[in-house]
Symmetry: C2
Subunit: 576 residues, 2 copies
């Protein structure tokens, strides 16, 4: 089997690519066709299985030789031979290579394979931990080959778009940096100076802004980022973002850039993406979908009239009233064939209210209404979750709700710039980060009513997942200082280099970061971002193949002036 499959190259067909250059082979195993009959070829690859007639199968073709009968599957061979048509009746019309075979003149065994922990066949189900432990075998599956090759080609197209079309400069920024104020999720890296630590940054946010002050004008980077969140499902301690920053640009400019970027790099095998992407405000997203990253592949919108909200999808209607007497609860209302309601709310509702309910919900017999009550802040998110759960429930029962081949992009804008702190609602904290500029029409409120200020922040949502976010930044040092010091009560001296930089001729600028792993996992329909990362960590942050993180001797830690605080009774519990 040769894993230079032609079917993967077709994502962005480029006839100029030569995957056999400088190699032992003349062709990949997958590219031979009846037109090649008579050709002398040299092939390299993995033996797939031994057929009953002692022919050997590669993934894409049959090798005609009698010499290899004891060779285990997945052993590596080099074959010199001649392409010929398969004998009558032995063709396999379902394979592009199914009409030919290779008559071997010589076969060289390059490596013999041991008995593997699992067979490398797409239909063989492996546990996640076995896949991770033997990732180098798991990656031989055609799905993982496709995912990694698509990833490579997609980022190449992104680079072409940014560099060659729009003149962006690819700049690498440090990952050994200084701890950011409040950077609780940053890994620390001890240095050789006692007590001094680097920090692995969550994003190049400060550097990208400094590059604008530095006159780079258009920056991008496929940036490795780090976030220590402990054990969280489908998060990775290191991940990659497409990091972009531009000078002399507004929100519309950044949005247009990203729409073009997605369109340019979109796999040709998928339906093309149309632009511009729809754009809604945060307020409308919360009102209509109960969430700031709506899945717009299906309707079932939350509607509110006066104090009422309605979720509507097909013949299912979710109706939610702010009655203030069922906080955070959901009541079920079934519209019976005769139009009567079956619900525990029945006795609480006068006939007129029922009539109003049916009318507002445009409910028909057979419909199901779900009613909840509470404050707007409670009920909207509740309904948003309910909406998604209903979609899943229905899909689980075979009702088509969301088209699995549909890709719905959506901009969400006009987020509040600050939110009340959970632990102290009188205090404000940044909704995203402290560098976001206010909307021009709200800028005057920054000094009077900061909680009313909307920010120039934009999120890019795809099928209900946030795949990117960014903002136009504050470019005046005095505004930035006011936000940090007066509004957020943070110590501005920790960001003194950034404040000084803004004061040194900072141009107006803004940017965005796309979560590449998440974006790709949605494109290929993978259940987890682990399926688009070559060597991911488990959800506990472990590399199951090499067993990282691992114990390090106290001696090796000496030069970093640190020692381990073993929990009581755990000191001797080292694995080595």
């Amino acid at each position: 089997r040769s894993w230079t499959p032609i079917e993967v190259c077709s994502v962005f067909p480029q006839p100029s690519i030569n995957v056999n250059s400088l190699s032992f082979r003349s062709h990949t195993c997958g590219e031979l066709r009846p037109a090649d009959v008579g050709e002398e070829v040299i092939l390299c690859g993995w033996v797939q299985y031994l057929r009953f007639d002692m022919f050997h199968c590669f993934k894409h073709f049959i090798l005609h030789t009698y010499s290899l009968c004891d060779l285990p599957p997945e052993s590596v061979i080099r074959v010199k031979g001649t392409v010929r048509l398969r004998p009558d009746g032995q063709e396999n019309k379902e394979m592009p290579t199914g009409e030919i075979e290779v008559l071997a003149e010589s076969v060289e065994i390059l490596n013999v394979c041991r008995k593997l922990p699992f067979e490398i066949k797409d239909f063989v189900k492996k546990s996640e931990s076995l896949r991770m432990q033997y990732r180098y075998l798991d990656l031989r599956s055609s799905q993982m080959q496709y995912n990694l090759r698509l990833r490579s080609q997609l980022v190449m197209k992104m680079r072409e778009y940014l560099c060659n079309v729009h003149g962006f400069v690819d700049v690498e920024t440090p990952t050994l940096f200084k701890r950011t104020p409040g950077g609780a999720k940053e890994f620390v890296v001890p240095s050789r100076e006692p007590g001094r630590f680097y920090s692995l940054p969550q994003s190049p946010q400060q550097f990208k802004q400094l590059l604008m002050v530095a006159g780079i004008d258009r920056y991008f980077q496929l940036a490795r980022c780090y976030r220590d969140e402990g054990s969280k499902p489908d998060r990775q301690p290191e991940f990659t973002q497409v990091d972009i920053e531009m000078s002399f640009v507004d929100q519309a400019g950044i949005r247009g850039l990203i729409e073009g970027l997605v369109q340019y790099s979109w796999p040709v095998e998928k339906d093309p993406v149309s632009t511009p992407f729809p754009c809604i405000t945060y307020e409308k997203a919360m009102k209509d979908y109960g969430v700031d990253k709506p899945d717009t592949r299906f309707a079932m919108k939350v509607c509110s009239k006066y104090l009422d909200m309605i979720l509507h999808f097909g013949s299912l209607v979710f109706f939610v009233i702010f009655l203030y007497f069922f906080p955070k609860e959901v009541s079920v209302v079934l519209v019976k064939a005769d139009g009567a309601l079956k619900s525990s709310l029945n006795r609480l509702m006068p006939a007129s209210a029922k009539q109003q309910l049916l009318q507002m919900a445009q409910a028909r017999p057979g419909d199901l209404l779900l009613i909840s009550a509470g404050t707007q802040e409670c009920v909207r998110p509740l309904l948003g979750k309910l909406r998604l759960q209903c979609a899943e429930l229905l899909e689980g029962s075979g009702v088509a709700v969301r088209d699995p081949s549909a890709f719905h992009f959506l901009w969400v804008v006009d987020f509040p710039l600050f939110l009340p702190k959970e632990e102290d609602p009188d205090q404000l904290e940044s909704a995203h980060h402290p560098f976001t500029a206010p909307l021009p029409e709200d800028a005057h409120l920054l000094y009077s009513l900061p909680h009313k200020v909307r920010g120039q922040h934009y999120d890019l949502v795809l099928n209900g997942c946030e795949i990117g976010g960014g903002s136009i930044r504050i470019h005046k040092a005095s505004d930035q200082q006011h936000v940090l010091e007066t509004i957020l009560k943070e110590d501005p001296s920790l960001l003194s280099h950034l404040l000084e930089a803004l004061d040194s001729g900072a141009p107006p600028h803004g940017g965005i970061a796309l979560g590449l792993d998440r974006f790709l996992s949605i494109i290929v329909g993978a259940p987890s971002i682990r399926d688009v990362i070559a060597f991911p960590k488990s959800f506990r942050g472990h590399d199951l193949m090499s067993r990282a993180p691992d114990f390090v001797s106290e001696d090796e830690l000496k030069s970093y002036h640190i020692s381990v605080n073993w929990p009581a009774g755990d000191e001797g519990n080292q694995e080595k």
Copy 2:
């Protein structure tokens, strides 16, 4: 001043690039020409200086307006205006924009600049530490703009060559990994599990080989690598390498790939690079140049006949004899006008020896001979250093030795696979790393005379600097186990995942890594790799702008189960 300079884009002129797309401006300040006279333009940029006549200068043009007289240099403005010819006598023929100016209709001040710590003019000399502290200002210099933009364009060309020409797959590998055996220079990263640490790898060596086992066939990555070497001049704790691995390939294949890569990505403004690059063996490099990375821009080769070695350059001849009585010393022999020798060695040398010396060195009157003696292992490196010092000395006195615009690439091959350990010469250690395969003709010696085995390692040398190195790898588990266990006396269980992978159908494979920072610094003629890195660390590993590494509170370290071992008397000595 707008730093989207047209002169930089010309490194790889691509008329498709639009650096003004999606921007506030219609043109960059540097692109206007007399042909644009009459054009209505919108420009954004930095005010350079106020002329005596109250015109304002941008870097590339003069703005005709009377409204900005108090605006400090480096303030940011947006100008709407009309291009017109400069008045007679005010043209500047040395600038491409020197014949025109812009008559402003409106000027908007986007940001006012404070008094800067230094003027942003290429001729203003700044100390290294001041440059680093205000890196965002230093990067506005045209040299740093050129360096970073060239870097971006060069790596883009490299990617095009690898992805679009040869079908390589760009795969990202983890940087939070497990400590490698003997990885003394690896930074550690504490995890939330007591005593367990990730390690920041020095290179993706294990992953690139695992990707070959995984059937990726052709891998590359611009890989961030980490090396904790404490304070070393011109080393960086994090650096970037162009990391490449291929299956079913031999040395010639990798060398051909890299020659093509360099040729394809070479700046068009430089003289083209001719291929193939010359190739010499390690033995010959040591013999002729006294070093394994010879600077071949000048001759002055070390020659050895029998026990004699001669360094020859122009009229200077360095003659070195293994006399075994002047270990590690160098004697000077001047050939006088009458052919007699002036030297402290005179009394030790019989007339016949002198004659032989002059003959062997082909010495002429006025020549200088430098003679040393000792074992081959001592004298060769000594001579190698002497050769370079002579070149520097001569150049310092105005003698042209090396052409500063010349780029001499050289392959050095056939390195010994193992070297005696410095601390215990009876023990062997890998000359490069334990994964290098032996030369096929030496493979049988692996089990009998390992110290005689030459490896399939190759170094790429440019102008006397090693800019890359790689090898064909061992692809059979039994050979790898033998090297680790029997020859190197290492615990093979630490690399059990790699050994298992080799046993799972590993194809023959090999690769290379190019040091991107060093390569670029040679191309742009920078004295330090810091000049091709946007935000480098000082030689002590400090970020002088943000002051990283920095102190972290004991509280923040708690979740990582580590505490700082303060050296005696230093505990209270924290900066905050």
